[in-house]
Amino acid sequence: MTVSLLYFAWVRERIGIGAEELVLDGPTTVGALVERLADLSDGHRAALADRGRLRAAVNQNFVGWDAAVAPGDEVAIFPPVTGGLA
């Protein structure tokens, strides 16, 4: 009953790790999950404080903060993407 968490770019740097697992009591939302994560460490709090600068994906699809998260999901938190160039 866990979710896999992935962090990228400065979110990863502030948290200090790129991946971790969290045990879930049951279904939740991405927003509620981020609130729980922010309490894990000072790094988590610094990385996750300003949700306006963050984006989320569940199972590799972009989602909003009210999206459902179930045990077994892969949840990624990262800044807006800046690929492609030019």
Partner: protein, 140 residues
């Protein structure tokens, strides 16, 4: 021939172009877009599984919208020096308008959907509002 690739090595635009231009007698137009590192060296981080998935989704969307004979999307990651190619979009069609529009669409969508992040000497590059606007012109 439709192909998506994510790699750290450089790509060979000549080989990639030739693969599409030689697809058959009904190819009349090939358009390429190459994005390259400007002004300062960069480190490109990405989310591999999601990047591949999003690039495949963007390519499928382009195929649904335009009559393409082939298309290639290549995105690099890792450390890239000034002038290094980062991204290649190639489209082949019978007519020029489909090839041009599909290539511009693919780039606009890649910019806003492919999970890549650039870090320069001054830190992480911020996303630009203009990119969302560019992607929005194609509808959703």
């Amino acid at each position: 021939m439709f192909r998506v690739n994510i790699q750290s090595e450089p790509f060979d635009i000549h080989d990639e172009h030739w693969r599409l231009s030689s697809l058959g007698p009904d190819v009349g137009a090939v358009v390429s877009f190459t994005g390259q590192v400007r002004d300062e060296a960069l480190e490109l981080e990405h989310y591999p599984a999601m990047a591949l998935r999003q690039m495949e989704a963007v390519l499928a969307e382009a195929r649904a919208r335009w009559p393409l004979k082939g298309a290639t999307l290549i995105h690099r990651f890792g450390r890239l020096e000034v002038g290094a190619p980062i991204v290649l979009v190639l489209t082949a069609s019978s007519h020029r308008q489909a090839a041009f529009e599909a290539a511009a669409f693919l780039m606009d969508w890649l910019k806003t959907r492919a999970p890549f992040w650039k870090k320069g000497a001054d830190g992480w590059v911020e996303a630009k509002a203009g990119d969302d606007a560019a992607a929005a012109r194609w509808g959703t």
